[in-house]
Assembly symmetry: D2
Homo-oligomer: 285 residues x 4
């Protein structure tokens, strides 16, 4: 969709007439809805919705939309946000020495396959500098070792603060972020874990998978929380393996799943398709 759109994400306690009220608000201003998705969590009785509205169909801009929508939102008790397709989301990508996820994200950005901007790449190695700088992007090398871990992550935090991005993507960064940093940037940091969570949390998941003798391996993209590999899952996928698949083959095969799963998850986040609800996600894809 190349046209100019606003995306309205909202949730509230379920009741009769929510869709009627919100769609009536939009229609009353001649708003053309190009996508509409709804979901009720039947256990918590919480209602979620996403509307994409043709910006050109409205007689006012996004600021005025925000103002005019307040009474409707207050009446329904909505938690809501609205975003503008003309203001691309910005992300920081964090990477270690493995290239596949970074290469995938750089391709998606170059080709504008996902409509986002990369503000900077942060790495604890110099390995990817040339490749990143070829793209004209800033590359920050912040080595992490046991003794300087705290000060290094202070530097990382400064970069987070400086760039003021919408999301941070851990593209196989292989370092555990400090808990406080995770909390400070809650709901903003996306990780790709190289297992089908909750199986094989933590280090060397393919070795764990090999040991257990599973017949499928997978990858999971999730929001980062203070608890390791336990945040809300955005997307997962798997690939078939068999007795002939050695650990090194799993590592190789798994990369194809990791990069595609991460790219899908990033798209959902960038396109405002994801709402977090407790430790789970609603993904309107």
């Amino acid at each position: 969709m190349s046209s100019h759109t606003y995306t309205l994400l909202a949730s509230c306690s379920d009741r009769v007439g929510i869709v009627a009220k919100v769609s009536e608000f939009i229609a009353s201003h001649n708003g053309w809805i190009t996508e509409a998705s709804y979901h009720t969590d039947t256990l918590s009785h919480w209602f979620f919705m996403r509307h994409v509205i043709d910006a050109n169909s409205l007689p006012f801009d996004i600021e005025e939309f925000r103002q005019k929508f307040i009474p409707c939102a207050e009446e329904l008790g909505l938690q809501w946000s609205i975003s503008d397709s003309d203001v691309p989301k910005r992300v920081i990508v964090m990477v270690s020495k493995e290239e596949h996820c970074l290469a995938e994200l750089l391709y998606r950005w170059r080709a504008q396959d996902i409509q986002f901007e990369i503000a900077a790449v942060i790495s604890n190695h110099e390995t990817m500098r040339d490749y990143v700088e070829f793209h004209g992007l800033p590359y920050h090398y912040i080595p992490i070792d046991k003794n300087t871990r705290d000060s290094s992550f202070k530097e990382v935090e400064k970069l987070f603060d400086k760039y003021q991005v919408d999301n941070i993507v851990l593209a196989r960064y292989m370092q555990i972020l400090p808990t406080e940093l995770c909390q400070q940037y809650a709901s903003k940091i996306i990780n790709i874990h190289h297992s089908f969570l909750p199986s094989f949390v933590g280090a060397k998941p393919y070795h764990q998978a090999y040991e257990r003798g599973v017949k499928l391996i997978g990858a999971t993209s999730h929001y980062v929380t203070g608890e390791l590999d336990a945040g809300p899952i955005i997307e997962q996928d798997v690939i078939r393996v068999n007795h002939d698949t050695r650990v090194e083959d799993m590592v190789r095969l798994g990369k194809d799943v990791e990069k595609i799963v991460l790219a899908r998850a990033l798209r959902y986040v960038i396109e405002d398709r994801v709402l977090i609800h407790g430790n789970k996600t609603v993904v309107f894809n």
Copy 2:
């Protein structure tokens, strides 16, 4: 969902305010929407919607709903229907000698995994009589051969007319229905074809797949029209094969896909999730 619901299916030319108007109508009668799905065909500018409404939340029955909804439907130019979850759909199953699809449908019915009724089974062989009659279902044996084809299908037509079912399921029936019968029961007859259509139309698709050396084989459930294997597709799936998979292995492996694809398609139809649009389907699943 065991509760009592009405399912409203509707479509019309796209314009501003359709969702607002329909959801306002439902909300104004205190109707509790438990599922809502929308789709716009951007080429034909046609709009589709499906609402599931808690019947107990409404102050009137389905007949009164129909009456009260007419003005709203007329204003929007809706093509619409509403069904009652307390009135299970009834189907005729047609089968030849292959058992897998019939066995699957009988299981779904026995276990009420899909909430439908089987009015009768029609077959051109006696093979499945005992198994069907164990279930307490009528079994009609109507042999088909070249010379008596016309009169045989007259008998089939009489059974169609007699049982007045909602849908007819060709569960690997292996006979081509007369064009007039297809037209008379348009949008009611569901077939399972043992290929990933549009590849390998017609007879012996697994032989065709083997000859072509494909690496995946599949199955397609579609509405039957006058043109062979060319009607609107409801559901498809595939399974991996390789150079070691002989035709007889494809036949065996394919059965698992056929029966699951047919069962999914039947569920979508029985639960009023399918709208036909030209030669395509909208499936709100």
Copy 3:
């Protein structure tokens, strides 16, 4: 393959010349190999092989094959077995109240889609008696409750001893077998667990999956050992779910995966395609 074949399964410590020696033995008796599969476990340096031999190409019967093969097997230090396609494997099926896996296995047996025999069905409920007895199969009702658990499983054990089957299939039996029984029938009992193991071991895996918010659910067929849901995995598969999938939907969707995964695993076992190696399997499929 309807023809008469012998299947030779063997494993030994890896070394140069194993395939040469075994294939030379077979060729020296004019044996026609119709399938040959090999695998080396590169960590344990253990070698596995499976040969299917056209029985009619050999000048002797299976007993004489066994005798003549002994020197070759001893020289290589083989662990081996050979089976005859004319002697179908026999199984006991154990079931609770859920029908889907039992119905699938009964279909596979009726249609001889898998070439095995069902010696008896054992259940802790009467629910499936009529359906099983329609097939002319013995149905043993052995209720299990807390107080009589030990004596009930003594009865089960007597049936195991009486029927002398090749395998026991827990087709959603929902009871944990006593450890001693598991050990006594080691490598013979096959279970279907309704999760993608090792995730969600134990009770109510779909509830666990729902709580964790996974985007795929699965099923695992494995050999039963003394440790719950921890035995060697034979086959697994998954199906996609999303935020809209309630627990009851997972239960329903999962059944399609469970029954297909169990049927595949049973086929592999019945066709002598599975070798157990530590807590893992080699599956020549």
Copy 4:
């Protein structure tokens, strides 16, 4: 596998004792077989095999292997070839303006995820020059238009002749090669077609898929022959779509399948896993 290996590919008319003879030859020279795969085409009675042999286990080099193997090969009537893992395969990549397949192949080469070399990139557009040249690879711009088509493809042919590569990869090149060129480089040119062949041959397959209303779209990598999109298939895969998936979404989603399918097919070819048999392939993966 980082070690030094030879890969022996061979096929012949099926008979008793082929495996015995070839494995005896290898064992007699102390050859350590690390992978062995066999296949019989039961219709044509043709036998296929692939052996990977640890080069260091042999007392001679690949040339001497070739000489010593001749009598064995002649006795069996083998068509055979042997390759050396220390001599990486070289390919030419041909590309148009779409980047995804090229970016994927460049990543696989940079990371040596597939162990091959890119001799040059040929394109009918300048679009990808900078990106390719950053990698230090030659980029040949040969525009194709109706009037100069013949002379342009003469230039292409000269480059083929000059670089003397093992394979040519059409990475969404979007031009039909002249029949003579296809024949001259028979069994060497690999294409990625953006449909699940044999469905939707030729131009705009996603438009064709959209029109037909299929529920899965796919991609096919195949050898190029004189007949359009009809050569032996190496690998295929699919991805689910629904009524909401517009043509532009199919184009976007399809790219993920195209690049992964092409990368898998290239790996199979580079690792000598593919044998062509009539219009089909045997892929030992």
